[in-house]
């Protein structure tokens, strides 16, 4: 009987300990797996974002197809610029800078989206000077910069 009782107590303890160990391992393992998955997911998203940003920026290609100047007085002079999206993804023109040797003029846009293979024109008031060369710098929402030089 004593032997039986002593034996029964040792068995119970081992089971409990084993259960605790198993539970502990399971909990810790699950925690580690969850943590690692979460961590990898974060990295994955980061990689995805980096990839998308870089690839889309690479694929952007904008040409300044035509620029012409109109008007005769400072009050009504203007510049008409046509952009052509010659790349394979859409882009968004956010800013145009007109830089001369003496001045810089900026135009911002909120509706400058251009689909692939499409063109878009904009006309802005601008007091151009005949024969004075102008650097025309176009910035997109992906921070791509395209430039050309024109002379009225």
């Amino acid at each position: 009987m004593r032997r039986q009782s002593r034996h029964s107590k040792r068995g119970l303890s081992t089971v409990v300990v084993s259960g605790m160990l198993i539970a502990a391992v399971a909990i810790m393992g699950s925690a580690v797996v969850s943590w690692s998955n979460s961590n990898m997911m974060t990295h994955q998203q980061s990689l995805e974002t980096t990839y998308s940003t870089n690839v889309n920026k690479i694929k952007e290609y904008l040409t300044i197809e035509n620029v012409w100047f109109g008007g005769t007085t400072p009050a009504n002079k203007f510049v008409n610029i046509t952009f052509n999206n010659a790349g394979s993804i859409g882009l968004n023109v956010t800013e145009v800078q007109l830089v001369t040797s003496t001045s810089t003029t900026e135009f911002s846009f909120t509706n400058g989206g251009i689909f692939p293979s499409k063109a878009n024109s904009t006309q802005e008031s601008y007091n151009w000077q005949d024969g004075v060369p102008i650097d025309l710098i176009v910035t997109t929402s992906r921070d791509s910069i395209f430039r050309t030089q024109v002379t009225p």
Partner: protein, 852 residues
């Protein structure tokens, strides 16, 4: 215990698997992402490369009916999609009517063209205004061109007159040069010249030709356009004609001018009687003219070159076959004698004639071979009011191709649109030329060949280039012979027997668009009644001998029409099948034997230049010793590979001695930049050497005519050189032996008969004007003349020999000084009266004579 340890292992394994699979998944994803990124970079690079490889150009631009008409050629290796055309009117200041954007959306494949771009856009071009055009491709590349922009800035204009001084009745050729030196590097289009002649009082200038070309379609930056026009000038010596050249649409007020002086050969003009003293057999010309003579005496291995007219009015000169014989001419020499010729232009005015066909084919095709057929080079578009004809150069009973009486059916001739800038006809889809089939045209032989050039941009339907056969020769019946475009393919077909089945023989190309608006050369050969062969640009593209047959071998079209540009059965209600495009050099003859060795005659036909570079000649003018040896630094002008136009004589003449009317004229010009000193015992040597064209096909024979009479008449019949006016005359070949009496031929060129009186004299004036000698006239035609007896009657056209006494310092007094040996200017003074009682007193300069 064993069992528990196993459970723990399983759990650990599960976690390991989870961890490992997560890690592997992440790494795989990362690698895929990197790979996609690399792919994107590669695609981007590929796009950039393709964008930079994209090349195209605007090869032609015209304004037709106030609409743009552009031809665009893809000169790269990638297909191009033209998306937009921008047009900016740089003249108009109205912003609302200044810049236009049009969608084009036309693809151009590598090596091909698209035509008529701009014809369908709603833009009306004003010819008085300037436009900047820009074509944009789908990849974002662009090409710019300016239209009518010659008026935006002054251009570099030049005008040359060749020669600048002419005798009355001679021609001068004006060259108007326009150089595109626009600072914006733009292409100029539609340069249309305007040349205005302003003769001084009494003079006249009559255009002998229109301005050639009438306009330049495109002039690239840095290039020069040359316009040519020939005028015949008449007037008195000292009169002149001013020429002013400008561009019709050029910069306001910009023009260039050139004056051409008229100098007349002296001749008697009293009482409507013209007695020309032909001193020592010849009449002198101004010191700056050197005539190419046929005589070889004292001219080393060449012929004489000096300023004396051909020997007599009946002299028809001689012909030099320049392709086989160098033409070499020498002036004479003397000592002491130094002649200085100032720097300037040397013009060689030459009469020549081209063989109708290249040398290797002369024995096969119509012309010198005596074979029958037709040769239409289309080098003459002159046609007044019909009936008039296109000339046949075959030389054997030429067949004149009729120009339709209805103006709208007449093709338009241009002098320089052909495959080698030669003359050609343009057919607008309702034009044609035709003639009746005769034995001489050889349309119905068993073995026949047809060759020619065509250019079209229309690639639909049937377009007849050449067809023999009349009403009923359509569909599956009738006998005919036809070369046509069937859609984009060239087709050669014929039927010689319609009595026993279809028997249609057809050769047709496939797989290539021949309606590509480029000139293409075809040779169609019928060998018996089953065989056809079709060559394009020297290459066999179709052949067949599996069809045809029947009893008849000849094509029965006798009495029918053959036509160029349509089906002649059109006149009888059949299909017209008009041709739209350009045609040139249509040749048809009665043989099928074109060899491929030793010379590929099919290739020769393709490569032969019937245009602006038909012949190449090296012109050399140099100083040589009295014996003809070269002198170091003696080259005055050396002009190799000078190109001469094809000079078509239009056949129907004796090819050995073509009549005067057949000879063409050209001017060779060389310029010296320093004075030329012809020293003691030196001669001038003028040499023309014919070159075999190495790059433009077969040798085209040419003849050169020299020493013909009539150089002072309205029609230039001989060849001569005009050089800058020398300080003294070069030594000629006329001599006078002072031990004997002098003789002179006197010719009555007027319309009235006349008598010469004893007052006539011969005068010798020393070259330095220090001494002079005179000789009395003694007799004419053996009849003595003195104060009591005049000469016998000179009928119009007569040439009589006049004998003069020896020249003395006191004429007639033998005790005074006899003219010593040396060089003298010789004059003839003729006195007399004509059959109407009018006197004439005439002094004629005979030329430089050497007294021995």
């Amino acid at each position: 215990m064993k069992s528990r340890r196993g459970l723990s292992t399983v759990i650990g394994a599960i976690f390991f698997i989870i961890a490992a699979s997560s890690t592997i998944g992440y790494v795989t994803y990362s690698m895929n992402t990197i790979d996609k990124y690399n792919q994107s970079v590669l695609e981007k690079n590929q796009e950039d490369v393709e964008r930079s490889d994209e090349q195209f150009k605007i090869t032609r631009i015209t304004i037709d009916n106030n609409k743009l008409n552009m031809t665009i050629q893809n000169i790269g290796t990638l297909p191009i999609n033209i998306t937009r055309l921008w047009v900016e009117n740089t003249t108009d200041t109205d912003d609302t009517d200044r810049v236009f954007k049009y969608d084009v959306k036309q693809a151009v494949y590598p090596g091909e063209n698209i035509i008529k771009v701009g014809q369908n856009i709603p833009l009306t071009i004003k010819t008085t205004q300037a436009y900047d055009l820009k074509l944009v491709t789908e990849r974002g590349n662009e090409q710019k061109i300016s239209v009518n922009s010659a008026n935006t800035a002054p251009l570099h204009l030049q005008i040359f007159a060749l020669p600048e001084e002419v005798p009355t009745g001679f021609t001068t050729t004006l060259l108007f040069a326009v150089t595109n030196n626009m600072s914006d590097n733009s292409v100029l289009t539609n340069l249309t010249p305007n040349i205005v002649a302003s003769p001084s009082s009494g003079a006249s200038a009559i255009p002998k030709s229109s301005i050639i070309p009438a306009s330049y379609q495109v002039l690239n930056p840095g290039d020069t356009a040359y316009f040519k026009q020939t005028y015949t000038l008449t007037g008195e010596s000292g009169e002149s004609v001013g020429f002013t050249a400008s561009l019709q649409n050029g910069y306001s007020g910009q023009s260039v001018s050139q004056t051409v002086d008229i100098s007349i050969i002296e001749q008697a003009e009293q009482s409507q009687t013209s007695l020309t003293s032909a001193g020592l057999g010849s009449q002198s010309l101004p010191d700056d003219l050197l005539v190419l003579h046929k005589e070889t005496t004292d001219a080393l291995d060449g012929r004489q070159l000096y300023g004396i007219d051909p020997e007599s009015s009946s002299d028809t000169g001689t012909i030099i076959q320049l392709d086989s014989t160098d033409a070499v001419f020498y002036t004479n020499y003397d000592s002491p004698l130094e002649v200085t010729i100032p720097q300037g232009k040397w013009n060689a005015t030459l009469r020549y004639l081209s063989q109708p066909m290249p040398d290797s084919l002369a024995s096969l095709v119509p012309g010198e071979s005596g074979r029958d057929g037709v040769i239409y080079h289309f080098e003459d578009g002159a046609c007044g009011t019909p009936p008039c004809y296109v000339k046949d150069s075959s030389g054997d009973s030429p067949t004149n191709l009729s120009v339709p009486s209805t103006a709208s059916n007449r093709p338009t001739w241009s002098s320089n649109i052909g495959p080698h800038s030669s003359g050609a006809f343009s057919f607008d889809g309702g034009d044609y030329l035709d003639a009746t089939v005769t034995d001489d045209t050889k349309m119905e032989e068993r073995d026949i060949t047809t060759a020619g050039w065509f250019r079209t941009s229309v690639g639909t339907g049937v377009q007849v280039i050449f067809r023999a056969g009349d009403d009923g020769d359509t569909g599956s019946s009738g006998e005919f012979y036809q070369i046509s475009l069937n859609g984009q393919n060239l087709r050669f077909n014929y039927r010689s027997d319609n009595n026993s089945g279809d028997n249609l023989v057809t050769c047709q190309t496939s797989g290539f668009n021949y309606a590509n608006n480029n000139w293409q050369h075809f040779v169609a050969i019928r060998d018996d009644h089953r065989t056809c062969k079709l060559y394009i640009n020297g290459t066999l593209v179709a052949n067949d001998n599996s069809n045809g047959g029947g009893g008849n071998t000849n094509i029965d079209v006798s009495g029918d029409k053959f036509a160029i540009g349509r089906d002649p059965s059109c006149a009888g209600g059949g299909s017209c099948n008009y041709f739209t495009g350009d045609l040139d050099d249509i040749i048809h003859w009665d043989d099928d034997e074109l060899a491929t060795t030793p010379s590929n005659q099919i290739d020769d036909l393709y490569k032969t230049n019937f245009g602006v570079a038909s012949h190449k000649v090296t012109f050399t003018i140099e100083r040589v010793t009295s014996t003809g040896l070269p002198i170091t630094g003696g080259t005055v002008i050396d002009s190799p590979s000078y190109q001469l136009n094809f000079a078509d004589g239009f056949g129907d003449y004796d090819l050995t001695t073509p009549p005067d009317s057949k000879w063409k004229q050209f001017n060779f010009t060389g310029i010296t930049t320093s004075d030329t000193l012809v020293d003691d015992n030196e001669r001038l040597k003028f040499k023309m050497h014919f070159e075999n064209p190495a790059d433009s096909g077969e040798k085209m024979k040419m003849k050169l005519k020299i020493d013909d009479q009539g150089i002072v008449s309205g029609q230039l019949k001989s060849s001569l050189i005009q050089m800058p006016f020398p300080d003294k005359a070069l030594t000629g070949y006329a001599t006078y032996d002072n031990s004997g009496v002098g003789h002179m031929n006197v010719h009555n060129t007027g319309t009235n008969g006349a008598w010469i009186s004893f007052m006539s004299r011969m005068i010798f004036d020393s070259m330095d004007d220090s001494s002079s000698y005179g000789a009395l006239i003694k007799q004419v035609e053996g009849r003595p003349i003195d104060s009591t007896k005049d000469s016998a009657f000179f009928a119009p056209g007569d040439t009589n020999d006049a004998e003069f006494d020896k020249p003395y310092s006191v004429p007639g007094d033998a005790s005074t000084t006899l003219v010593p040996e040396g060089r003298y200017k010789m004059y003839a003074f003729l006195s007399g009266y004509d059959e109407r009682g009018q006197i004439f007193l005439q002094t004629a300069y005979v030329g430089v004579v050497r007294v021995t």
